[in-house]
């Protein structure tokens, strides 16, 4: 317990690091995932810009990367990170690895949520004279916004989880704090303190996401 009090500054730093990694990987992975997911949605057969080869290639890429366990991917992308000038440890490596890992999951979630827009809605917009691009970039995201917000909320929680795992290979954050100061020094108080902070972050994100989605869906 006393040890935990001593470690408070480290806990704060770790919390900050976790938030940093989650925020930036959400921005990068979130945007890239949105792009990839929209491409998957748009090029699938029968969609707005059906393109079998493009869809097939994207589909294979996503299916290739998505099942790779994150711990393994984390190690696998280390040389790649160094190759583009990011140190193989630390918060920025965490952002790099999590962005790669999450963008494929995010793209699937985006694709699935866009698919919830009924084909009839698209037909009505087409019948009103809307262009395919306008439907894809303006109407569909708006119509699918509620489920998209819930999807992204789910993703943020998953990112916090990934951050903790990344901590195991010294990417920083609460995961590293829990392992280095708690687990390895046999101090459950310290481990649980990290867990508690993570729970608070997750609850907060879930609460905000649910609230936002409710406002969009129920109005």
């Amino acid at each position: 317990m006393d040890r935990l009090v001593d470690l408070l500054p480290e806990l704060l730093d770790a919390t900050y690091e976790t938030l940093y990694i989650v925020t930036f990987s959400l921005i990068l992975g979130g945007l890239l995932g949105l792009l990839l997911g929209t491409l998957l949605y748009a090029t699938r057969p029968g969609s707005l810009f059906p393109n079998r080869p493009v869809f097939a290639v994207l589909n294979v890429i996503v299916n290739f990367f998505r099942p790779i366990p994150f711990v393994i991917l984390l190690a696998a992308v280390q040389p790649l990170a160094r190759g583009i000038g990011i140190p193989g440890i630390g918060a920025n490596f965490g952002v790099f690895a999590i962005t790669i890992a999450s963008l494929f999951a995010i793209s699937r979630i985006v694709e699935q949520n866009l698919l919830t827009v009924r084909p009839g809605i698209i037909e009505a917009a087409r019948a009103a004279g809307a262009s395919r691009a306008r439907i894809l970039f303006r109407l569909i995201p708006r119509e699918a916004l509620g489920p998209l917000v819930l999807g992204y909320t789910f993703i943020v929680v998953a990112l916090v989880d990934m951050t903790a795992i990344a901590g195991a290979v010294a990417a920083g954050g609460l995961g590293e704090f829990a392992i280095v100061y708690g687990f390895k020094q046999f101090n459950p108080w310290v481990t649980w303190a990290a867990v508690l902070v993570i729970i608070v972050i997750v609850q907060l994100v879930q609460f905000l996401g649910n609230g936002l989605a409710r406002r969009i869906l129920r109005r």
Partner: protein, 345 residues
Amino acid sequence: MTLIRLSGVTKSFPATTKGGDPVVAVDDVSLDVAAGSITGIIGYSGAGKSTVLRLVNALESPTSGAVEIDGRDITRLRERELRALRGDIGMIFQQFNLFDSRTVAGNIAYPLEIAGRPKADISARVTELLRFVGLADKARSYPEQLSGGQKQRVGIARALATDPRILLADEATSALDPDTTREVLALLRRVNAELGVTILVITHEMDVIRSLADRVVVMEAGRVIEDGSVFDVLSAPQHPATRRFVASIIDEVPAGEKLQALRARHPGRIVTFRLRDGDGSQAEVFAALASHDVRFELIHGGINDIGGRVFGHLTLSLTGEAGVVERAIVAARTHAPLIEEETRG
């Protein structure tokens, strides 16, 4: 004046299974729709009527044949021109297809935004349309807060936003209860009568055709099998499929089990007279029968009114001495065609 013309239009879709034959949804259909008319296309699901509707606003393009709107072949238009064309053709749907993320006013404004109208014009037009469909108080509601009938009225207002000359109705009342269906049909009649909009409606319900259309086109397996005024088709359907549709709303001349049941209850001679828009006089038929010593009873049939023209058939059971009954029938049939005569059972 012809506003919509399909000439020898065929539309086939790629086979659903590998190596299968392409699916021919529309098979050599030719169709003229006059400006200002309400034309109904009826058929069972898979008859191709839905595809025909989508050929008119180029949501589908024909495999062969020409689709002309107001004399212009739209199959040659570029995508940009097609979008302008679609903006001038309204469409309503069975499932309404309103944008859930937009308010009622936002839904109606959508085609106007697409057309790039100024904001002030849009809001004036939306107000006008809301009043026309009787939803002035719902401008700020969301579709999920509306009943089915209200949703379809919003759909109609949205379809009319750009002042189109043509309105396409895709099973527009099939998801509604009978009362709401009547309301929506009445609104569509107003759209036609007050705004002069040409309406092309597809349905599988003959009742919708009877109460809305002036002309009916019957489709089966991608082909037009019957085409004529609603009165003509309902009063004298030619094709078996058409007869089935007509039988769904109009009592047919009794046959089969129905006739067996009537015979079992009525010992007399059963005859059916056809009355069709002046072709046959009910009063004279009854007068002729009454002047003979026969007792007659109306056991089946009825009179239908299609846009002020009447037709129907009366099935009577006649009892009396055989020779007298025979003379009564001979006298009566000079006043109305006898379309079926049953000998004493």
